[in-house]
Symmetry: D2
Subunit: 120 residues, 4 copies
C-alpha cells in the first residue's frame, strides 16, 4: 500500500481509468437520487436512497485519495467496490425496467470492477 | 476577506463558535434526511430532501474552509446562511409538529445567524 | 434560482458542460496539491495549497448541487467562479513555467467561465 | 452490517459517541494541516500533509454514513480506524514536542478506538 504506483500491472488498469470510473459512478448515483426521489414510491425508499448516497460518497472519496496519491487509496477502493456492488443490486431490484437506474447500475458495476482491480 | 481573523469583533462571535454551529447543523440535517425518508409522504418529497442535503453539504464546507483558514471561508458563510434559512423554512412547512424536524430547523436558524455574523 | 433548467439559453452552455468543467477543475486542483507539496518551497506555501484545496472543494460542491438539481446550485456557481479565479492567479504567480500548474490554472479559468455562465 | 443499531453492546460505546469522536478528529486534522503548512519543513512534507487530509476525509465520511444510518457505516469505521492510527503515528514522528500535533494525535487515537469498537 505504501508505494502508490500509477498502474496495476496485473490488471493493466491505470489509476486514471479507475478515477474516471469512480467519478462517473458518483455522477450517476447523485443523478439517480434526484430521479428516484421525484419518482416516489419504492424508488424513494429510505434504504435505496441512502445506499445511492453512500455509493456517491465512497466513489468521490476513492477519487480524492487517488488524486492525492494517498497511501490508503487502494485500501479504500476495496470497500468502495463492495458499496458499488450493493448499489447496483439495489437499483436493479427496485426497478429493472427503469433506464435511469440501469444506467446507474452499469456505472456501479464498472466502478466496482475498476476499484477491485486497483485494490489487488 | 484576505485576513481571516479568529473572531468578528463587531458580533463578538468567535470562529470556533461558528464552526461548532455549522457542524451541529450538518449533523441535524443528515439525521433528518434519514428520518424524513423513513417517514415517507410529504417528508420524503424531492425538494425537501434535496434541500436538507444541500444544507448539510454547505455547513460541512463552511466548517472545512474555516478550519483550513481559507480566504473564502467567510464569503462561503454568506451563501451557507441563505441555504440554512431555506432549510429551516422547509422543515417547518413540511411538518411543524415533528420534533425531529423542529430540532433540525432550530439548528439551521442558529447556524444561519452565526454564518451571517462571520460573513459581515 | 427556483427553477433549475438544464441549460442557460443566454450563454448556450448546458448544465452537463458546467458539471464536466467543475469535475475537471476539482481533479486538476487535487493533483496539483500533490505536485506542489512534493516540489516544496514556494509551491508548498500555506496560502497556495489552501487555495487549491478550497477550489477543489468548491468545484466538487458545485457539481454535487447541480447533479442533485438543488435550488442553490447556480448561486453556488457564483462563489465557485470567484474561487477558481483566485486559484488560477495563484498557480500562475507561484510558477508560470510549471506545466502542471499551468494545466491547473487553465482548468480553473475554464471552470470559472462555465460557472459564471450558469450563475447568470 | 445490515442492522445498524444505535449502540454496540459489547463495547458499550454508542453511535453518537463515535460520531462525536470522528468529528473531533476531522476538526483536529484540518486545523493541523493549516498549522503544519505554516510551519514548513518536515511539518509540510507531502506524505504527512496528505495523510492528515486522508484522515480528515475518512472521519467525515464515517460520520456521514453513521448519521445517514447507512449499511456500510461500520465497515467504513474499520478502514477509518487504520487511517487514524497511521495519522497519529505520523504526527508523533514528525514532531513529538509540537502541542498542536500532539492534540491531533490524541484525537486520532481516540477516534481509532471508537471506530474499532463500532466496527466489531
Amino acid at each position: 500500500m505504501e508505494n502508490l504506483s500509477q498502474s496495476n500491472t496485473a490488471s493493466g488498469l491505470s489509476m486514471d481509468e479507475c478515477i474516471r470510473d469512480c467519478i462517473t459512478c458518483y455522477q450517476e448515483c447523485l443523478s439517480c437520487v434526484t430521479h428516484c426521489l421525484s419518482q416516489g414510491g419504492k424508488h424513494a425508499e429510505s434504504r435505496h436512497i441512502t445506499l445511492m448516497l453512500e455509493c456517491a460518497e465512497a466513489c468521490k472519496m476513492s477519487a480524492d485519495l487517488m488524486l492525492l496519491k494517498g497511501q490508503f487509496a487502494y485500501q479504500h477502493c476495496q470497500i468502495c467496490a463492495e458499496i458499488c456492488d450493493a448499489c447496483a443490486a439495489s437499483c436493479t431490484s427496485v426497478d429493472p425496467e427503469d433506464s435511469m437506474m440501469q444506467k446507474c447500475a452499469d456505472a456501479c458495476i464498472r466502478c466496482a470492477q475498476s476499484c477491485r482491480s486497483m485494490a489487488h
